[in-house]
Subunit: 424 residues, 2 copies
Amino acid sequence: MKAEIIAVGTELLLGQILNTNAQYLSQELAGMGINVYYQTVVGDNMQRLQHAIEHAAQRADILLLTGGIGPTQDDLTKDALAAVLGRSLHIDRPAMDQVEKFFVNRGISMTENNRRQALVIDGSTPLPNETGLAVGIAIAQDEKFYIVLPGPPKEMKPMFDGQAKPWLLQHALTNEMPIYSKMLKFAGIGESLLEDKLLDLIQAQSDPTIAPYAKEGEVSVRISTKAGSELEAMKKLEALEAQIQKRLPKHMYANTDVPIENMIVNIMADRGLTLSAAESCTGGLLMESITAVPGSSAMFQGGIVCYSNQMKERLLHVPHALLEGEDAPGAVSHEVAEVLAEQVRNITDSDFGLSVTGVAGPAYSERKPVGLVYIGLAERGKKTEVFELRLSGNRETIRIRSVKTLLHHLWLRLITHEADSASV
Amino acid sequence: MKAEIIAVGTELLLGQILNTNAQYLSQELAGMGINVYYQTVVGDNMQRLQHAIEHAAQRADILLLTGGIGPTQDDLTKDALAAVLGRSLHIDRPAMDQVEKFFVNRGISMTENNRRQALVIDGSTPLPNETGLAVGIAIAQDEKFYIVLPGPPKEMKPMFDGQAKPWLLQHALTNEMPIYSKMLKFAGIGESLLEDKLLDLIQAQSDPTIAPYAKEGEVSVRISTKAGSELEAMKKLEALEAQIQKRLPKHMYANTDVPIENMIVNIMADRGLTLSAAESCTGGLLMESITAVPGSSAMFQGGIVCYSNQMKERLLHVPHALLEGEDAPGAVSHEVAEVLAEQVRNITDSDFGLSVTGVAGPAYSERKPVGLVYIGLAERGKKTEVFELRLSGNRETIRIRSVKTLLHHLWLRLITHEADSASV
């Protein structure tokens, strides 16, 4: 099976946004054993859009279109595909209900053009949109398979995973041997060091295959194999997983594609442990990452963003002498990170208290370099640990890496507990 | 002039890397007044690569190829283009010297395949590589213009800026007018309603052109025009901008591509106003957005994430009677949003205090529906405002929309002040 990805949108051709959808879908299709031979980007233009679809249909079996299904005049993807297939469009009732409900709930009157978001091609399978309003489409014609997905990644990814992928597996991939994959997740290690640790395995790879990916602050390894049954596949994958895990026990935190904060939330909720945080340079990013996990309310108490020195004193009782004065260590220091972690733990009466204070840039502060960050980890009845980080990158990268590093240390602490209690 | 960008590399088709080159070149070409109608990605395969070049040459005047010019056997871009143009390749002496010098300097013996990096097409203009080894190519044939650039962005960008761009300006763009664009940003309004308000302008558009598009929680409109001089362009763009601004004065917050939090930080810092926040369901996202703006430390004091009811009582003195009990309004209520905003403003002694409390989901709480959110806005010496929101979407979307809506209300309050003080 050969696939082609067509991303629709003039903003892509103007370079205003990056085509991350093509990367995501390419990874997913590779995982399904489908070869992608071409990716195409075309603008919001009826004639060129039809041309792109017709041309792709000549060289691929599966066409995935993303974007151009919103409410506005220049959202033409469904119209173009309908024209190429010689079919008409109609309003999908459930999708229309969802659109209408959205405006009723918001108490806004719906403009007419929003009806376009509920359009589907005659004879197609509508793909419900769980995170937005525009309905997607799956349709087979002349042994070709067409999928229409929304442009915004927040809508496209869940629709592909939940709707389009199962549809393709059922309709297009009936007599392919399916590919089974596992995503192994790592923290506190860079892509190159990880690759170095696994180099012999990567070079010797044939089946299962090993593919490392790096994202901001975390590294993933996808291991995949073709097999007749899931049982057979899992036997092969788990053997390799065990080998990799054995080499990086302090870094591999999951064998599914979840961020490390999900593991932390689950472990702490299971054990009835509570968490709080005091953030300076990360300004809430740490707490935002943890509370982004559903169920975090079971373990996360709350915390304080003490952006100014005054707030460090007033809300977290950091001694003035530590913050200001001739030979004060200053806000960005080992000492202050320690006080912040311990104070926020005390004030919230939680089992663990985290802290971050540093220079995220772009400007240095206290004559300290951009990228200098101190992270603190306080635990009830244990000695508080503080780590000094010297990070590179821009403001955003430094903030993300600070958070990911602190979460890695907390996770390490938690699994060591596990080991302790297990060994008792 | 029409251009097509062809990025070459199987790693792109596998989704292992993101096609940032296409974005960079698209932005550059738009700035030069060249329309990009298609972007294509093709793998390291001779037949498909030739097919992509031939097809692009039928529909574009300028072809930019990136990638596939390294030393290895699967670097085929130059060979493919030479075949399509019916020309041969030869070693470019200066490029070959550079390659040889590289290995001599490092004391490594050069493998034979490195000679491939110095290959150029007969009759072409070699484009020296200042940051790598593979030489680029510029060549005109049959009124078509072909540019070959390296894949690694750190080699591609300087070669385009320093070599390819001047070559194009001199050979291809003898009588083109550059495009000038402005980005108008809106908050508190959806894409469809915005388009509805501007529909007559959009439908009548010829010059300048108007293109709306939506990102999570915000909407943008790009207005563009071709002109002989920047002055002339700005006159046309500013006239249209004024028209649009007049129709949506409460929603258009910027005429450059910045998030609304940047405007808030600038306005407040200029006027010496300070801000604090108390967050429940958004868990730090609001404070994170504000502190992501460089210079926010001038106006942002800090705040509290009061995730549990206990923290609402302990850290923000919310009366127990409001939170729990038979006929208590509960944590997700108008009353609690009001107390949170006022208390955090008092505790931090800042001019403005913001609050968010709601049900982000996936599970409902207090028998209240997912998406019900209350946002509070307290100001020194003014009556506190509370707004009830009924949002749809998943946990992440609800959190983002809560924050964007609250920021829009704060911005509105700030510009109204401006109006007041101006009218005084």
